[in-house]
Symmetry: none
Subunit: 405 residues, 2 copies
């Protein structure tokens, strides 16, 4: 049996960029190590989830880890909360939230409180509390954004939003949509009443008033989701697994699956992350864990920024780091490289494009693929979906069971 490393270059896929003479960031990058790996191994194209689907990082990573999101994904709430660094445990109910502004009658005058992050960190902290045994955790995000996690036994996500989704409408009472949501809706309404009082009198809002900004006096909740109680990775796959990432959503998913998680020193989840130390840390973990997933976020960040040059440069630095890493791994390690989705610089958002994939395992078949990019990888043998990746690497690592006789 061999060990496995999956390197996920977040948002790797790209489209032609004028500034790169019509090339994708990957095509334009000097990437001798990635090209060497695909030449030694097998290549192809992978569609995250399914052809034409614009995958999120959460759904795509779940499926790369062998958990079909059609069966296991319970909405964005829990994953957005993890993305803001909140711990989410199975059974927790989580929401996406905005800090918003209401008038004296509770009518929403600004759903985004001026899009200002001023004081939201302090406001969020002030909203952590416990009511009737239910613990509430709030964390601020970018601008007016935030997330709320509720933790207790027997919570339900069968409840409505408090966000009216329109200005000029009053904040909504949370209502159960089925009987099992009754307790959760009731305790949540009491929480929101308490939160409203805290926010109204909060020092941070006095400062916002002084600086002429709309006050952040309401936490508007939407998209409740219950964190799924997923089968542990070790039980699901018979492997000890680890996740290495600089961003909390990805380590959060690992945590939800009972995997070892690591945010290496110098790993920032941004363009200036230290790719070498991250990949060396991952290489080190392959000595103790059967399966290691490493997420590198920089490619996605550059894609969202629409900065093709930065994306190309990040890929070149990642390629060098992969070269260094390869000198520190067991020859028998099964290595796969792909993206969790495309984030084309021309789109500044995720797209449903296929992304290149490579598998390298000593003694395995090779194929006609020579270069690791969106165009050339199609010379290779594979046309797969993200859910197939785990089966393929397990098989290459002699870790799969025969199906039949």
């Amino acid at each position: 049996m061999k060990n496995i490393m999956l390197i996920v270059l977040d948002g790797l896929g790209d489209r032609p960029n004028q500034i790169l003479s019509g090339k994708t960031a990957l095509q334009a990058a000097f990437r001798p190590n990635l090209n060497h790996l695909i030449r030694e191994g097998q290549g192809g194209l992978m569609t995250p989830i399914a052809p034409g689907i614009r995958a999120g990082s959460d759904t795509s990573h779940l499926s790369l880890l062998g958990y079909d999101p059609e069966k296991f994904y319970s909405g964005r709430g829990p994953f957005e909360a993890m993305g803001l660094g909140l711990e989410v445990r199975p059974g927790d109910v989580a929401f996406r939230a905005n800090f918003g502004t209401t008038d004296n009658n509770g009518v929403v005058t600004d759903r985004r409180a001026g899009r200002s992050a001023e004081g939201t960190s302090l406001l969020a902290k002030s909203l952590n509390m416990e009511i009737d045994g239910v613990r509430f955790f709030v964390r601020e995000g970018v601008e007016h954004r935030a997330a709320l996690v509720m933790r207790s036994q027997g919570l339900s996500d069968k409840i409505t939003d408090s966000d009216p989704h329109e200005t000029g409408k009053p904040v909504k009472r949370v209502m159960p949509v089925s009987p099992e949501g009754e307790f959760t809706a009731d305790v949540l309404n009491r929480y929101l009443d308490a939160a409203r009082k805290i926010l109204m009198d909060h020092e941070a809002n006095k400062n916002r008033r002084k600086s002429g900004k709309p006050v952040a006096n309401e936490l508007l909740l939407r998209g409740p989701g219950k964190a799924p109680d997923l089968m542990d990775f070790s039980e699901m796959h018979g492997m000890k697994g680890a996740v290495v990432a600089g961003i909390p959503m990805i380590t959060g998913i690992g945590g939800l699956l009972g995997m070892h998680t690591l945010k290496p020193r110098g790993s920032t989840g941004t363009l200036d992350s230290d790719f070498t130390s991250k990949l060396l840390a991952a290489a080190d973990l392959t000595k103790k864990y059967d399966y290691v997933l490493v997420n590198v976020k920089a490619t996605d960040v550059a894609g969202h920024d629409g900065d093709a040059i930065a994306k190309r440069d990040a890929i070149e630095r990642i390629d060098r780091a992969i070269g260094e890493m390869m000198e520190n791994v067991d020859q028998d390690l099964v290595i796969a490289v792909t993206g969790d989705h495309a984030t084309p610089c021309s789109l500044k958002d995720h797209s449903g494009d296929p992304v290149p994939v490579l598998f390298r395992s000593r003694g395995a078949l090779t194929d006609r693929s020579q270069f690791f990019d969106e165009f050339s990888a199609s010379a290779g043998m594979w046309r797969i979906r993200s859910i197939d990746v785990m089966n393929i690497v397990k098989e290459m690592a002699d870790r799969s069971e025969k199906y039949g006789a």
Copy 2:
């Protein structure tokens, strides 16, 4: 409408072999007829079941025949029993079995009775009997292995193993795991009591004692499975179908589907099988049957032996036989060639690698594939799963119904 022949080269897929200068057996073989067929037709890669799945011959043949094993496969018992040459009918309950050794207290001292086949043929015959209208059939396999088939109305596979799966433990009473298993468990326990007495006093075991071998005084049962009542092939596909094979598991599957089955003279299921007479017999059947599947086992045997030279040589002889066959078939015959799975010589077992596939039908599209092997076939148009093969050949034979208007 045209007729169809599917040639399944069992375990065809391979990985690079050092002794063949890094080539697969197929790449190394002189195979002008296979190359001619793919050049005239369409090529590509097929993953048995799904990417990364290590298929058995049973699950893969079911799906090649258009029966999705996810829906229809009921465990290895019935297929292993067929593999030993026992007839298995829908509703039968079948087990994998070992001849084992127990002490006077019924504690298992050797789960494999010294791995010896001495006398197991006679022992197996002595265990065929009928109790309360349930007929029991035993057949010996390689070394200590055997299979048991129970035949009656109303049998259930909702029962436990008698095999304790460990030495030093007593043989287990078979227990129902749901109420429908009660009768089956009860009659099976009475059968095992009777079998034990027969084995203990059997001449073959006296000889084993004399020669110092552990006695085979217990039939240890595991993996009960009920043979599925599958829709007849003719009803499923609107075609009269035949299966030509040298090994009982494959003709057994044909039998279970109500297909005509043929083991041609000279077809042995081994490396020295007479491929020409087998393929000519299959060609002959295409005049009477709409669909003919031919299984050639030699490639799998060589793969399990780890003998790349023998695999290459077998492919060369099969290629010549295909050439002769082509002179004896209707020009309009739709011909497909693939493997049911890979059996790489370097692994000596099934793997989840894709296998090359070709489809040749007069007047059909052609593609860029030029050579029939694991590497070159990827130049062709197809990336499919085994379950797709039946739809493709039916469509090429003008036998498919329009889906929609």
